[in-house]
Each structure stands twice: as structure tokens, then as C-alpha cells.
């Protein structure tokens, strides 16, 4: 790229010329993939920008984006940026109160909402958000009888814009030209494991330079196809589906609805794909379960070839030399298993996949890599505009997260915390000077809050949140997340919470995976009526026991963590749920809340009792509250003597 456009509206103009007839965006709607080329998309965005201008949108105004991944909402981001405004994408599944905080905090003047559901939320909080002047909706369905002056249909706004442009033909172009790289481009609110969300202020330079560096790092081209399905408010989506798309000029595909993502993924067959580990985990679980239902012969074929793949597939992908017969066997496997499997998963065309956010189970990681899917890990956070470290092709390890991303410096602070600086480092937290100062020091180093170290090969290894790393009473290290992740690598364990800080030994809560365990129950004729009943089943307990023993065995071999072997556990009677505040929206465990809520159980784990009664408040899907009661079993797990020499 010889020219270096420094804002997205400018990139849009470039792309509209460079890739005029290439498809920029698709959306599955009305049964087919409706498509827009870069030129068409620019026209739509400009019309919207003009419309916003006509409604009085000023430089510096904030435009909230509320909804799932729809082209029009993406256009809203760019349209706001055209006018020098600041888009504020909001997690669409937040309840009205949560939204209210963000909208109020960001002082959003305009809102683009996806549909009636989101509009209703906006109307509900409108009175508490005095700055909110206009609500624009994408889908008019069911809104005929809404009579509000500040409610606008998206197409009406565009029509308004098309009128506006007749009188002010150069307005938007001028506004675009005014923009520069150091301007604020977007507010991205972090979900925050504790406390209120923080608005991370990003400049164009932050986003664009990071996107450009990473695109070069992975040689992304305009031919990539990406499925955008992750929340628009999340920095990852903003980089992958917006930043990199504008920089490289590739195509973004929006699924029809949340329920059709897997079908849509299969149809599109992306070449570049990002998903958090749990998505890959779910895929593997589904594959395993579905293969269980296959005939004997097919199962044996599958198992045989998956063994072959594990032996040679990873090597082939890493470019290592492989014997001829293995290569032959692998290509046979490719015809019979790998390629069809990738096809059913929608990964036939995949060139590059990333995962991040959590540790990924080595089995899962290897499974996909052995199939020939180039899945890599990266380590990043919102404050860095994602990329802190990435794995270069050919240097892929399951337990490390790669080398520092281009232009990023990473080092380990004395307390073991990972710190970094680079072009993507955020501008500030909006209206939160203190936090900004706490996170980013004067030299530009940002504190990640993660504990980690560089392995011998120069790759970064992350252990846990620095604040979560605790000590057992004997002073040895307790890294709960590390243990939990090890547990969660088992397909039938959905969530786990480990305890041990300032205790004598480690214990754990287990959440079973309803899909996996339910399937197992069906196959083994184990009757159950509810989640609770299944969770309390003795056979299920035995199954978990076996898994935890395995974890203990592996922990025993780690000299740092051999004390962390789980001595006792229980299976929770309900799923940990973001709606009950037990998890964050991104499904991270909220330890404090859990510790409060289930204090009885934790005590029971340490007082040696065999059973424990608990009554919990729950929030149902429709918002009603209720309580469930259960009598839980607690179980002891055998532990192993630490192996002196780590294997």
C-alpha cells in the first residue's frame, strides 16, 4: 500500500476506487446473500452520513450502535466517522440498565438500533439519557404504530441524506478531509469483570496501524472472506470485521441471525476466521458427539484417520518434512475424513484462524491444526487494539501465545505482570483519568494485569490474572484459572471454579456440559428430567471424578503447581449464568460474586461434609426471578505425589 490513508472514511474512499466492483459486504437476508460492493457501500454510508448531518449530527457527537452484526450498523460506524463523530458500539444483549450506563457515560446523541427489541430498550432509558436525541432503526418490523418524532427509519435517514447532499454537495467530503489519524475514532466499552464498564478511547492511528501491521504480518488480501458474528462492541470484531477489512479491502459477511450462524458459516466458508476457544471447543464437542452416533465402521475409520492426522497433520501444517507413506495416508484421510469434516464445519476454505481470550486446550488446538486448519493463538486486549503477541506461521505451540506483534514491545514487570507498548495503545479511558493513569504509565507501558513469562523459545506464556494468582497456606502458588482451564478442556465440563487462596488445598465447582453429558446419558439410557437431576447423578459424578484425577496427575508433574491438585469437588446444580451475574458477558468467572453466593458450598468443601444444602436465586430468561434448591454431594479426589523431574 503506497498511500497511507489515516482515517476509515478515507480508506473507504480509497477502497471504493481500488476495489470498486469487489464485494465489501454481504448479509444473509431474504434467503440469499445480499451483497454490496465497496462503491455501493460507500454510497450507502455517505447517504447515511448526510442524513445524520441533516439531523444535526456534529463533529464530536457520539453515535451509539445497538444491535447484532448488520451491514447497516457497520455503516453507522463509518458514517459517524465521516462526520468526525465517535461511534459507540454497545453489547446488544445487555439489559436496558446496562445500556443506560454506557449511553449516558458516552453522552450518545444518536442511536442506531437494530430492531424493535432494541428500540424498546432505548425508549425505556430515554428519559434517563437526556443527551439522546435521535433513534434510528434498521428493521421497521412491528414499529408502524410507534409515534415518536425522534424515531427514524434507517432508509428515511438515508433519503434525507440524499436530499441534504443536493444542497450541501461537499459537506461530507469536507468533513472527511478534516479527519486525521490522531483523532478519536471510536469508544469501545470493556465488559469489565468488576465494576462498571470503562470506555476505551481509540484513535484512528491506534486501529489503523494495528490493523495494517497485523494484516501484513499474516498477509491478508482483499480476497479474504470473513464472517462477522462476534459482538460489534468487542474490540476483536472491530479489528477483524472493520479495521482489517478496510485496510485490506476484504469482504465481511453478516449472518442471517444468531440462530443460523453455523449454517451461514458453512455457506460462506470464510478464509479468515476468529473465534474464542470455547467456540472451537464447542465444535469439537459437537464433532465428537456426532461421531458417536455413527456406525461402527465409520467410527473406526474416523478414529484411525484422526490418529494419522495427529501424527502427521500438524507437522505438514508446520512445514516439517513427513515421510512419503505418511503423506499418502494423510491425503487418503483428507479425502475420507478431513476435507468432509472441514466442509461440514464450514472451514473448507480457511487460510487463517485465530483464537484468543482464554487458554485453548491442547487437544482442541491440535485437532484443528491436524486437520490442516491453520489456527493460531494471539494475546491481546482492548487497550492494545487487540494485538500484543501473535504466533508466526510455523511456530505454533498450544501453551504459549506467540511473539510480540509487529511494532509492539512486551516485557515482564518485576511482579511477573506482562506489560507492553506499541502503536495500538489506547488513548485513554473516557472520563476516567485515574484509571488511565493506573493502566498506562507515562512511558506508554500498559499493564495487562496478567501474570506470565517468556519461555526459552521467546514465546510468551500466560498463567493467570495477576490479581487472581493466590497462595496456599503453605505459600505455594495457586493459579485458579490455570486449573479451571485444564478442567474445561474436558468436553463434559462446561465451567469450573477453583478455590485455594489462603486455604490448605485446592477444591473446585464443576458445571457439566448439558449437551455432552445429556448425549452421553441418552446413549447409556440414563434417565433425567432436568439439568439438576443430571448434575446430581452418581454416574456423572464418577465421570467427573475420573477427569479431575487426570488433571491432578498432570498437575503433579508441574513443579510450580503440584500443590494445586484438587482434593474435593462438587457439581453445581445450575449453570453459571451471565444473567445471574456469575459470569461476565464474555463468560469469564466472577469469583467474588460466586464466593459470596455459594459461600456455604465453599465452606462445605473445606469442612469435610459429604452433602450440602443450597438455595439460589436465579433470573429466568424472561427476567422473572425465582429460587432453586438442591442438596449437593461433595466428593473427594485422590491426589498424586509430585514427580520430582518435570516430564
Amino acid at each position: 500500500m503506497d498511500h497511507q490513508s489515516d482515517t476509515f472514511p478515507k480508506l473507504l474512499n480509497d477502497n471504493a476506487q481500488r476495489f470498486a466492483s469487489r464485494v465489501a459486504m454481504r448479509e444473509k437476508d431474504y434467503g440469499i446473500w445480499q451483497s454490496w460492493t465497496w462503491a455501493q457501500m460507500r454510497e450507502e454510508i455517505v447517504a447515511l452520513a448526510n442524513g445524520l448531518a441533516a439531523l444535526g449530527f456534529q463533529r464530536g457527537d457520539k453515535l451509539a450502535i445497538v444491535g447484532s452484526n448488520r451491514p447497516r450498523l457497520y455503516w453507522g460506524i463509518c458514517a459517524a466517522q465521516c462526520l468526525g463523530g465517535i461511534p459507540v458500539p454497545v453489547y446488544q444483549d445487555s439489559v436496558a440498565d446496562e445500556m443506560q450506563y454506557v449511553l449516558e457515560h458516552a453522552e450518545a446523541k444518536f442511536v442506531i438500533a437494530e430492531d424493535q427489541e432494541q428500540v424498546d430498550k432505548m425508549l425505556e432509558i430515554q428519559e434517563r439519557c437526556p443527551n439522546m436525541h435521535h433513534i434510528i432503526y434498521d428493521d421497521p418490523r412491528g414499529m408502524r404504530s410507534y409515534r415518536h418524532d425522534h424515531l427514524h427509519d434507517f432508509t428515511e435517514v438515508q433519503a434525507l441524506g440524499r436530499e441534504f447532499v443536493k444542497e450541501h454537495p461537499e459537506y461530507v467530503n469536507q468533513e472527511i478531509a478534516k479527519g486525521q489519524g490522531s483523532d478519536i475514532s471510536i469508544f469501545l466499552y470493556t465488559s469489565g469483570t468488576t465494576g462498571k464498564p470503562k470506555g476505551v478511547v481509540m484513535t484512528y492511528d491506534n486501529i489503523i496501524m494495528t490493523a495494517r501491521n497485523s494484516a501484513n504480518f499474516d498477509k491478508l488480501t482483499q480476497y479474504e472472506e470473513v464472517l462477522s458474528y462476534l459482538p460489534m462492541a468487542w474490540v476483536g470484531d472491530h479489528i477483524f470485521s472493520y479495521g482489517q477489512a478496510y485496510v485490506a479491502g476484504f469482504c465481511i459477511n453478516c449472518p442471517e441471525s444468531e440462530s443460523t450462524i453455523s449454517t451461514d458459516l458453512r455457506e460462506i466458508g470464510p478464509t479468515y476466521y476468529f473465534a474464542p476457544p470455547r467456540v472451537f471447543e464447542n465444535i469439537l464437542t459437537t464433532v465428537t458427539i456426532r461421531m458417536h452416533d455413527a456406525g461402527k465402521l465409520k467410527q473406526r475409520m474416523y478414529n484411525y484417520f484422526m490418529d494419522v492426522a495427529r501424527k502427521t497433520g500438524v507437522k505438514i501444517l508446520n512445514g516439517e518434512s513427513v515421510g512419503f507413506s505418511d503423506k499418502l495416508l494423510y491425503s487418503l484421510g483428507n479425502v475420507l475424513v478431513y476435507a468432509p469434516l472441514k466442509n461440514t464445519m464450514g472451514f473448507s476454505r480457511i487460510r487463517l484462524a485465530y483464537t484468543a481470550g482464554e487458554a485453548i486446550g491442547p487437544e482442541i488446538f491440535d485437532f484443528f491444526r491436524s486437520l490442516g486448519i491453520n489456527i493460531k493463538q494471539l494475546y491481546g486486549q482492548t487497550e492494545a487494539a487487540v494485538f500484543i503477541t501473535m504466533q508466526p506461521d510455523g511456530q505454533i505451540f498450544a501453551d504459549t501465545v506467540g511473539v510480540p506483534a509487529p511494532g509492539v514491545d512486551v516485557k515482564i514487570a518485576e511482579n511477573g505482570e506482562v506489560i507492553y507498548r506499541g502503536p495500538g495503545v489506547f488513548h485513554s479511558y473516557y472520563k476516567n483519568e485515574q484509571s488511565t493513569r493506573e493502566t498506562k504509565n507515562t512511558e506508554g507501558w500498559v499493564f495487562t494485569g496478567d501474570a506470565g513469562y517468556f519461555a526459552e523459545n521467546g514465546h510468551l506464556k500466560i498463567i493467570d490474572r495477576i490479581k487472581d494468582v493466590g497462595r496456599f497456606n503453605d505459600g505455594s502458588m495457586f493459579a485458579p484459572k490455570y486449573i479451571e482451564n485444564k478442567l474445561k478442556f474436558f468436553p463434559h465440563i462446561k465451567e469450573a471454579v477453583a478455590f485455594g487462596h489462603e486455604r490448605d488445598y485446592c477444591t473446585a465447582f464443576i458445571n457439566i456440559d448439558l449437551e455432552a453429558v445429556g448425549n452421553w446419558a441418552e446413549r447409556n439410557n440414563v434417565p433425567y428430567a432436568s439439568y439438576q437431576e443430571l448434575a446430581g447423578n452418581p454416574q456423572v459424578y464418577q465421570m467427573m471424578l475420573k477427569s479431575i484425577e487426570e488433571v491432578n496427575r498432570s498437575l503433579a508433574s508441574d513443579k510450580l503447581l503440584s500443590n494445586s491438585q484438587i482434593h474435593r469437588f462438587l457439581i453445581l446444580h445450575k449453570e453459571l449464568d451471565p444473567d445471574d451475574g456469575e459470569l461476565t458477558r464474555t463468560r469469564k468467572v466472577r469469583r467474588r460474586i460466586i464466593a459470596e453466593k455459594y459461600g456455604v458450598l465453599i465452606d462445605a468443601l473445606y469442612n469435610g461434609s459429604k452433602q450440602c444444602f443450597i438455595r439460589t436465586e436465579v433470573t429466568f430468561e424472561d427476567g422473572r426471578k425465582g429460587a432453586i434448591e438442591a442438596n449437593l454431594h461433595l466428593m473427594d479426589v485422590p491426589t498424586f505425589t509430585p514427580v520430582k523431574e518435570a516430564a
Binding site: 446473500w33 445480499q34 455457506e267 466458508g269 464433532v287 479425502v335 475424513v337 461440514t344 464450514g346 473448507s348
Partner: protein, 358 residues
């Protein structure tokens, strides 16, 4: 297993509703067509032409026709043999009366004449339904055969009452008569069958096809949402008879070269075609071909295996063949009452889901 549908997405309705929406299917069909049109003509000999390929094509055409009526419009007919006879005799009269007429035109005109006769015999379907209609269509079968036997004008007053196809050429090469090279008759039939298979598909996927299927699935509801039963049923009879007429014309002029009503177009033929579409799959274009292939090739196969392969006496083999065909028909109906097309659909579904079972 073979399917790679990932990335094969549709950005327009015309792509979404094309004949073979899945890329692999499309390529397979292109491959088969290329093989049939470009390779087979060089390999074909008299035996393959007369014993395998022409019968297959002729019956496939008839099965297409009956499938339109029975499979798509739900009207069971046992008059196929009679309508084939109409096509054959129309073809003969046209060939003799207009020797200069292009054979394609002759066959299509024969089809059109049959379509008119079909409409006439389709009239009772407005009142009579189900098996009553099936048996009633036998009236047309018997009447037409009787008519062609009885009225000498149809067989040009020949002493024997047989009709024989005179030689006609296409591009200077004989296409009917004994001198016609096998590849020529084969290509002629193949072209007709291919073109009209696509036309049949076009008809059944559009408005007309849907009105037929609506009548088939629930005639009262169909009428109440605006399908005129008269028009729908008669158009199905017309189109169906058109195809059957063409197949009769092809059978007479290209395949057999001569014909006599009761031998060539008897009631056994009506049953045979009905079998083809049921074994093949009611309401499926592909099924018509599969059914025709199954029931034309199976007897040849069995005979060659038993007589040629095992060296059994032909009479024993012939009885056994009948027994086996009967048993196979029952077996198929038990295993897959929706026919070979359904079997293929299921297989395809499994291939698409491979390696998963469902």
C-alpha cells in the same frame, strides 16, 4: 463425502433456484452429459443401442411423462401404452404424409397430437379420483389399441396391420430405418430426452408445477387458494401425454422400427411405466430416469448373468427372472417406498453430512 459446499453460497434468487444448486451436482451432470454426448457415440454398437440405450431413453421419456401426471399431479393413469400407441401412429402417419419433414418436428408433432388425445381422456379425472381413475384410464388403453387395430387408415391399409418406419435422414444421415447408424438414433433420442427433461424440470418448478403438486397434495385446498382444478388436471394430462406420445413415436420410429398395437403398446407397457416411476420415485425427474434404467437394464442384466454367466437353461432363467424382478420390486418398495430417487436423496444427504451420520 464428495461434497464441498462450504463457500458455495448464493447471492441471487436465480442462483438459489437453479436446477442444480449444489456445485458438485452441477459438475456431475455436466460430466454425465458430456460423456453421453461426446464419448458414448464413439463407443456405441448395435447391441448397446437396441438393447440398452434406446430402450432406456424411450422409457425414460415415457416415465417422465407419466411422472408429471402421476408423480406431480397425483392422477394415476394406466393408459400409458395407449398414449404411446397414439404417438407411434401419429408419427407413422406424419412420416408417410410429409416425408420431407424433419424427424424432430415429426416426433414433437406426434407428441402434440397425443397431448390432444390425452386431454380428451383426461376429462373424467375431474370427477373420478384415485384407483377409480386408474382403472378408468384403462378404458383409454383398451379403446385406443382396439381403434388402431380396427381402422386400417392408421396403418395405411397394409396387409399385415403392422406399421414400419420408412427411412428418414437428418443432415444426410439416416435416422430411422435399418441403415441408421446406432450413434445417430442414440444421439437423436438423447437430445430429445435431455431437452425435454430440462423442460419438464422447468415446468414442475414453476407456477404450473406448483399448481399440479397442490392438486396432488390436497385438491380442495388447492382450489380454494386459486388453482383451477380443470386447468391444472387437464394441463397435466396434456403435458404428460405429450411426453408419452413422443416416447411412443421414438419407440416406433427409432427403437423398434415397426410396431403393432397390442404387441408393442399393450397394457403391460402401462404397468411397466407406472412401475418405473414408482421404483424410480414419484414426483422426481431424476426418479424417472432411475426407474427407467432399473427396469430396462435389470432384466437384461439378470438374463445375461443367469444364461450367459451361469449357463442355466433359458426357460428356467426366464421364470427365475420374473420371480426375481417381482421380488426385487417388493424389496425396493419395502425398503424405500419413495423410490430410488429418495434413496439417492438420502445417500446424497449422507454424503453431504459425511462423516457424520445425521
Amino acid at each position: 463425502m464428495l461434497y464441498r459446499e462450504s463457500g458455495d453460497f448464493k447471492t441471487s434468487y436465480s442462483a438459489d433456484q437453479q436446477t442444480f444448486p449444489i456445485r458438485l451436482d452441477r459438475h456431475m451432470v455436466y460430466g454425465i452429459l458430456a460423456f453421453a454426448f461426446l464419448v458414448v457415440p464413439f463407443l456405441i454398437n448395435d447391441y448397446w443401442e437396441k438393447s440398452v440405450l434406446l430402450p432406456f431413453l424411450v422409457w425414460a421419456m415415457a416415465a417422465l411423462g407419466l411422472n408429471i401426471l402421476t408423480g406431480f399431479c397425483g392422477q394415476v393413469s394406466l393408459g400409458t401404452g395407449g398414449f404411446m400407441a397414439v404417438g407411434a401412429y401419429a408419427c407413422y402417419k406424419l412420416m408417410v404424409a410429409f416425408p420431407w419433414l424433419n424427424m424432430f418436428v415429426v416426433v414433437i408433432l406426434a407428441g402434440l397430437i397425443t397431448a390432444m388425445v390425452g386431454v380428451l381422456f383426461g376429462l373424467p379425472s375431474l370427477r373420478i379420483k384415485g384407483f377409480y381413475l386408474a382403472v378408468a384410464t384403462l378404458a383409454s388403453q383398451f379403446f385406443l389399441i382396439w381403434l388402431f387395430n380396427k381402422v386400417p387408415w392408421f396403418y395405411n391399409y397394409s396387409a399385415s396391420g403392422m406399421i414400419a418406419a420408412p427411412e428418414r435422414t437428418l443432415l444426410g444421415i439416416p435416422v430411422t430405418g435399418a441403415e441408421a447408424p446406432p450413434w445417430m438414433t442414440y444421439l437423436f433420442c438423447l437430445t430429445l430426452v435431455t431437452v425435454f427433461a430440462f423442460i419438464a424440470h422447468n415446468l414442475v418448478r414453476g407456477r404450473i408445477g406448483r399448481s399440479w403438486m397442490a392438486i396432488r397434495d390436497m385438491d380442495i385446498a388447492a382450489e380454494i387458494i386459486g388453482v383451477p382444478p380443470l386447468k391444472a388436471k387437464l394441463s397435466a394430462f396434456a403435458v404428460s401425454s405429450f411426453y408419452i406420445g413422443m416416447s411412443g413415436a421414438m419407440m416406433f420410429a427409432l427403437y423398434l422400427g415397426s410396431a403393432e398395437p397390442s404387441d408393442s403398446f399393450g397394457i403391460a407397457k402401462s404397468f411397466l411405466v407406472l412401475f418405473m416411476i414408482i421404483i424410480g420415485g414419484l414426483g422426481s425427474i431424476l426418479g424417472s430416469f432411475l426407474g427407467a434404467a432399473f427396469l430396462t437394464l435389470l432384466p437384461v442384466l439378470l438374463k445375461n448373468i443367469m444364461v450367459g454367466g451361469f449357463g442355466w437353461p433359458p426357460d428356467l432363467a426366464a421364470h427365475l427372472e420374473l420371480l426375481l424382478i417381482g421380488a426385487l420390486i417388493m424389496f425396493f418398495l419395502i425398503v424405500e417406498p419413495h423410490g430410488l430417487a429418495q434413496l439417492w436423496r438420502v445417500t446424497k444427504e449422507r454424503l453431504r453430512l459425511w462423516p457424520f451420520p445425521h
